[in-house]
Homo-oligomer: 130 residues x 2
Amino acid sequence: MIVAEPGTGRLQGAFRALGDPTRRSILLLLRDRDMTIQEVSDRFPITRAAIKKHLDILETGKLISVHPSGRERVNRLEPAALAQANDWFDHFSRFWDGRLQALKTRVEQDETEDGTSAEPAKPEGNTSND
Amino acid sequence: MIVAEPGTGRLQGAFRALGDPTRRSILLLLRDRDMTIQEVSDRFPITRAAIKKHLDILETGKLISVHPSGRERVNRLEPAALAQANDWFDHFSRFWDGRLQALKTRVEQDETEDGTSAEPAKPEGNTSND
DNA sequence: TTAATATGACACCAAATGGTATTATAAAGG
DNA sequence: CCTTTATAATACCATTTGGTGTCATATTAA
């Protein structure tokens, strides 16, 4: 009965990281530009330590890379792992007669619609953080 | 400081459900055909109760629908929510100069490569559960 | 009717999760 | 040198998570 080792795979790292709304928000933030931990945490209503943990998980999932610079630690979005997670959907639908593709909804609402937990705060009066 | 209600959104339900490898395996299973709880749990090394919980979470995330039939409960894959999660990636890359699309890797390994936690067992000698 | 089967509903448990606060260290700036 | 700033590391906490086992209930089959 093949059970294998627990959630240590590449895909799992990415999916796990994507499971939290705060982390998805962070990814959206980093799309605009690289940011230090401080810069990221400034935009959320939770502590810097909590943000650091999220960044660690994102790094473990290879969704971001970290680049020390002096006393700062610059976090950079890494598209590869994200693309890999995206591939899961493709693979899924590929062997499932395209019902998924057919149903791809026009993206009318972004992550904010989700309205989950912590959202960036600082970005000027922008309630729709994309 | 907009904090909003916690992980109750549509997208969050899907992403949360997708975060667990066993649940992703279940989705792959249901791609072939609808299954009762019993049928699903027969294919995993964990208890029926545990599988039932996973199915509940998948249902909450609207990734599957449930159809009572007599004393059975048939679980059916629902593509809509999956497509919505997939859209997240599209939306993400749309405003990020296509770096994601460019990096889309050919799907050379499926979920099994992930090797995470519980894998289906019954399906004849098939180690690659797709 | 009686036995088997499929599920639902709990209570319980250990570990992981998402937070916090505190303390320590390293790098910049005056 | 001294102070500030950015981060790291740790301990602690409540809740969630992914499991288990047990028992009750509703169908189905004999």
